[in-house]
């Protein structure tokens, strides 16, 4: 009795056997439903649209549609001179403006081959790590909201506010800083800045533990995230994942360690990867865990920066800032470890213009999001939300 094929005809399921159609089941017809999740949906973290084919609560496939926030970053770069691009990079991953600026400045500085004052490097590390904590706080908080826990979100934002105040004090802006310039920083950090940062670090350490107890160790939270959206390490590498996403899959890959830039080689910090005891390696919980642990590492880095930072006597933050940026003809690719992964800038210069011939941003969110179709297959809708949240996308960087 070998069935040669199945076909669905209306409400009657039939099988073809030896060329004859045999009715095997009379049933209510079910069909897949297209469910457009987004672009206006609370948990797509911006204007992402996922077109899901759903069979009841099960998502059979989810296709991400991008571009709702496309602002022609790369095209703009071709008509703006090098220093003028820095504010545009802020607006890519608007939750981690400092890190974006820094990645771009590293690329241009590599092209120009200029020496950066040591104090500038420490300032850059410090503000970027502060921004990394702020960014992770948003990621963790909104992940809580995705899973229905509202309070951790507000706790996260309360603590993030302190960081934004600090960064505003240093740069004059809360999110879009334009603080890290090519060859330096816009201003020296204010007097007593380090003291306030130290106060924040002391304030924040217990809050990390509190957040851990409230959210990460919550039984329901663990149930919702453990074993969901598992991404094996090899597939993650093939998808070119980076940052906490890749580390969540158990790959110890951090550009601050593996392709060190700035003063990171002098700083002592761990690269947290899940050990598979609390979470299954590569699941949503691992990715969340990596972010939670990274905040503590960032606090360590900030503390070391405070103690190692050279004094500000006679320090000019703009001493190495070139008056006119006109690099030699050539091309460069530089990358930095952003809160969301590897942010790379490929810049091509024709040697004559003060504007780049081509500026391409390798966005971490965009690359991480590309695995969505694979991850979402056969998941339930609530799990789909958990997976999107764990990818931690910022649409500003996905679409650019």
């Amino acid at each position: 009795m070998q069935e040669l094929g199945m076909a669905e005809q209306g409400s009657i399921r039939v099988s073809r056997k030896d060329g004859n159609v045999v009715v095997i089941e009379k049933d209510l017809a079910t069909e897949e439903m297209v469910l457009s999740m987004g672009p206006q949906h609370p948990s797509t973290h911006g204007v992402l649209k996922l077109e899901c084919m759903t069979d009841g609560e099960v998502v059979t496939s989810a296709e991400p549609y991008l571009g709702y926030l496309h602002r022609c970053f790369e095209k703009h770069c071709e008509v703006v001179d090098y220093p003028g691009i820095v504010p545009y990079t802020d607006r890519m991953d608007y939750l981690a403006g400092m890190n974006n600026e820094w990645a771009y400045c590293i690329a241009v500085e590599k092209l120009l081959d200029i020496e950066i004052p040591r104090r500038v490097e420490f300032i850059r590390v410090m503000v970027s790590e502060l921004n990394r904590i702020a960014s992770h706080l948003v990621a963790i908080g909104t992940y809580g909201i995705d899973l229905g826990a509202f309070t951790p979100f507000l706790f996260c934002f309360r603590d993030r506010e302190h960081i934004l105040n600090l960064l505003e004090w240093a740069s004059g802006a809360r999110m879009l800083y334009n603080y890290i310039w090519i060859g330096g920083v816009a201003f020296d950090i204010p007097a007593d800045f380090n003291k306030r940062v130290k106060e924040f670090v002391d304030y924040f350490r217990p809050k990390v533990v509190e957040l851990y107890k409230l959210l990460t160790e919550n039984e329901i939270f663990v149930k919702r995230t453990k074993g969901i959206g598992i991404m094996p390490a090899d597939v993650a590498i093939n998808y070119a994942w980076s940052g906490p996403m890749l580390r969540g899959s158990g790959v110890k890959w951090d550009l601050r360690r593996n392709d060190p830039y700035s003063v990171y080689p002098e700083l002592d910090f761990n690269v947290p990867v899940p050990d598979g005891k609390f979470s299954d390696i590569g699941d949503c919980l691992s990715r969340h865990l990596v972010r939670a642990l990274e905040m503590e590492e960032s606090l360590n880095i900030i503390e070391q920066c405070i103690s190692k930072m050279p004094a500000s006597d006679g320090f000019n933050p703009r001493s190495a800032v070139p008056k006119r940026v006109r690099p030699k003809a050539g091309e460069v690719y530089a990358r930095a470890e952003n809160p969301r992964g590897e942010l790379g800038f490929y810049i091509q210069s024709d040697g004559k213009s003060t504007k780049p011939l081509r500026c391409k941003a390798r966005s971490s969110c965009f690359v991480n999001l590309s695995a969505m179709k694979d991850l979402s297959k056969g998941q339930l809708i609530p799990d789909l939300v958990a997976i999107i949240g764990s990818i931690d996308i910022v649409l500003g960087e996905v679409d650019r």
């Binding site: 609370p42 826990a149 919550n218 939270f221 609530p382």
Partner: protein, 372 residues
């Protein structure tokens, strides 16, 4: 204990030694042919729901959640924002009454109404005081369990009528959830009914009266009672769609679930129904397990705390306080816990709560039979 024996219990604090003195008096009040008293009886719970939803339900929840989350909550309208709810109501009243073009207009309009009626009808059998109950049914508890199922019809009407995929998901989830959780909830309440030997809400309360206050409450009357108490509390969270079981309206998954398309006063009615159900389940759990309108304070020798804090008005105070306490616990849980997944919710219902409800049922039966 038979019902006739119950009525012989002396309750000196009641007016005229009579249960339901107020509601009986009101029921007899007529204006020529018009049964004015019956209308007032029906209006009292309605006014109560509206007032409590405005003050404690909306404003209280916003303030409580704010304090749990290190913020201030509404502060602009009036002193400490106390007029915020009024402002919200005014805004909702002014809103255009939108019915989506492709919606099933009849179902869309009727849905919130059924939803509210479902939660409001249960108030008929809630004894608000020893002297007041809307309808003194001898199957009051059974009626309360049953009538809640009417909400399901409203939710399904609202979800289907909206012609929105998210609403449909929300409605389907909600119906599955409420229908499933009625089973452990009903069995857990049956444990209380078994201890009382009656389904009459007023009599269940009377049986928990006594000079030792809280010691007479069913929660403390048997060593097993905490189990159905806990089961009913969890199940009631699911029945009223409260966190961590707010899956039908899961805002981060289903936008707003079955009321995605609703705005203006229809939205307000849905919310009123939700607050009504919140109080209703809280009142039922306090009636069945925590003595309802009985004072929890015991008589200590000559300090007759129980006698002093008993009476029709005190009774109303106690039952509303107990109800509000459980609503506070509901809010507390809502602002602490993440949301379960649909299948985890069903797992909890069918594989955890229902078996334990049966176990507690059997144990309570054994306790009632063999322990005098």
């Amino acid at each position: 204990m038979s019902v006739s024996a119950i009525s012989q219990i002396r309750l000196p604090f009641l007016m005229g030694n009579n249960l339901n003195a107020w509601s009986d008096a009101l029921a007899g009040l007529t204006l020529s042919w018009f049964p004015l008293g019956l209308v007032i009886i029906a209006a009292i719970p309605l006014v109560f729901i509206a007032l409590y939803a405005l003050t404690y339900g909306v404003y209280g929840e916003r303030k409580i959640s704010a304090f749990m989350q290190d913020r201030l909550g509404p502060m602009e309208v009036g002193k400490w924002g106390i007029l915020q709810t009024l402002a919200d109501i005014l805004k909702l009243l002014q809103k255009e009454d939108i019915v989506p073009t492709s919606a099933d207009k009849f179902l869309f309009v009727v849905g919130p109404g059924i939803l509210f009626v479902g939660s409001f009808l249960a108030f008929a059998v809630l004894p608000f005081s020893p002297a007041f109950i809307g309808a003194s049914l001898n199957v009051g508890l059974f009626y309360a369990i049953g009538i809640v199922a009417l909400e399901v019809v409203g939710i399904l009407a609202a979800g289907w009528g909206s012609n929105n995929k998210w609403s449909l998901y929300g409605a389907v989830r909600s119906v599955a959830q409420i229908v499933s959780y009625e089973i452990p909830a009903a069995i857990a309440l049956l444990c209380g009914a078994m201890m009382a030997g009656t389904l009459d809400m007023q009599q269940i309360n009377v049986l928990q009266s006594g000079p030792y206050g809280f010691a007479h409450f069913y929660l403390f009357q048997s060593p097993i009672a905490w189990l159905p108490f806990l089961i009913y509390f969890i199940a009631s969270l699911a029945e009223t769609n409260r966190a961590p079981f707010d899956i039908p309206e899961a805002e981060s998954e289903l936008v707003a679930g079955y009321f995605t398309e609703y705005s203006g006063m229809k939205f307000a009615v849905i919310f009123l129904a939700e607050y009504g159900s919140m109080f209703m389940v809280s009142a039922i759990i306090s009636i069945v397990f925590l003595g309802g309108w009985n004072s929890p304070l015991p008589n200590l020798g000559s300090v007759a705390l129980y006698d002093w804090t008993s009476g029709p008005v005190w009774g109303a105070f106690w039952i509303i306080s107990k109800g509000f306490f459980f609503i506070f616990v509901q809010m507390w849980l809502r602002w602490t816990l993440p949301r379960l997944r649909v299948d985890q919710l069903m797992y909890l219902c069918w594989k955890v709560l229902t078996p334990f409800a049966f176990i507690s049922f059997v144990l309570t039966a054994i306790w009632e039979i063999y322990v005098p």
